[in-house]
Point group: C2
Chain length 158, copies 2
DNA sequence: CTTAGTGCAAAGCGTTTGCATGCGA
DNA sequence: TCGCATGCAAACGCTTTGCACTAAG
């Protein structure tokens, strides 16, 4: 993944801090560790990936807590959840919205997901006003067939 | 839902016909009945909704068959599946692509989903070319807070 | 006649929850 | 100290599957 991994740790931490305070929730080591690990992940990740990594770094957290925390981070706007067909939920850190948001190309054959950028759509959506609805963010999924699958299909039909 | 319910039954039937023939699958009454019922639904619907309606119209189908059929219809490009947080999968008929596709406004508070149209985005996406990826369709989800929820929240904070 | 499709119930799997214990405030 | 957060395992809800039976081609 060529995404630039310049995530401002301080900024993300503050976001969690703020959310916890506002909701009067506790600052537990688990919550910060999970966030830490989420920042380390270089692509979309599943809850299981997080658990695995945390355990590999010898920090024990129960899966239940990871599920809870991830949910909390989504509510806090720090993570975003994607549910692609036939796979468990995937999450990703929401990096600075100042830069262009990315969208997703999803292969209907193999389920592979690729990230792309499209500043034009981004700008358009940011400027769009909906009557009575206050948009916070958006996700765009483009479904189709990826290059390797279309190549494979072409071969088979020969 | 103000969606214009001018679904060309013949056209949808043909799509299923074609798909079944191509995949060398059988034309069973269940498959056509499920499709029939899907056409009747005026909004997004869940598998359970379909079963309920079919039973109400005294056509018995098992839930397993409805699940299988709906999956088949998605593969055939006749239905589209949406997975909104905290709710079972929802489906909708894919109407003529000649007209503008619709997108979704999803309330983060109450989960309500509203359909909207945006010809500009539609056109933009149709014209976009992705290297090695062949797009077939896309879904755009705009997350935020709906009017009634933001009103409710404003009241509470007084 | 062959074998894919169906119905039923049981299994599967990601996710949530209940309860006892631990720890942040 | 008080009560929220955690860990564990059990429950949950949507979805898929296995098997015997039915019916499409």
């Amino acid at each position: 993944m060529g995404r630039n991994r310049v995530i401002d740790r301080q900024l993300v931490y503050c976001a969690l801090e703020k959310f916890l305070e506002q909701k009067k929730m506790r600052r537990t080591p688990e919550r910060y560790k999970v966030l830490d690990q989420a920042i380390e992940m270089t692509t979309h990740f599943k809850v299981d990936d997080l658990c695995e990594q945390l355990n590999a770094n010898s920090f024990h957290v129960s899966k239940a807590t990871v599920y809870n925390t991830v949910q909390l981070l989504v509510e806090a706007g720090i993570l975003r959840r994607h549910r692609f067909a036939g796979q468990p939920s995937q999450y990703e850190i929401v990096v600075e919205q100042a830069q262009t948001n990315h969208h997703h190309l999803i292969c209907r054959e193999c389920g592979k997901v690729k990230e792309i950028k499209d500043a034009a759509i981004d700008n358009h959506l940011r400027q769009t006003v909906y009557r009575g609805f206050h948009p916070e963010y958006f996700t765009l999924y483009v479904y189709g067939v990826c290059s390797s699958c279309s190549r494979r299909k072409a071969k088979l039909s020969k």
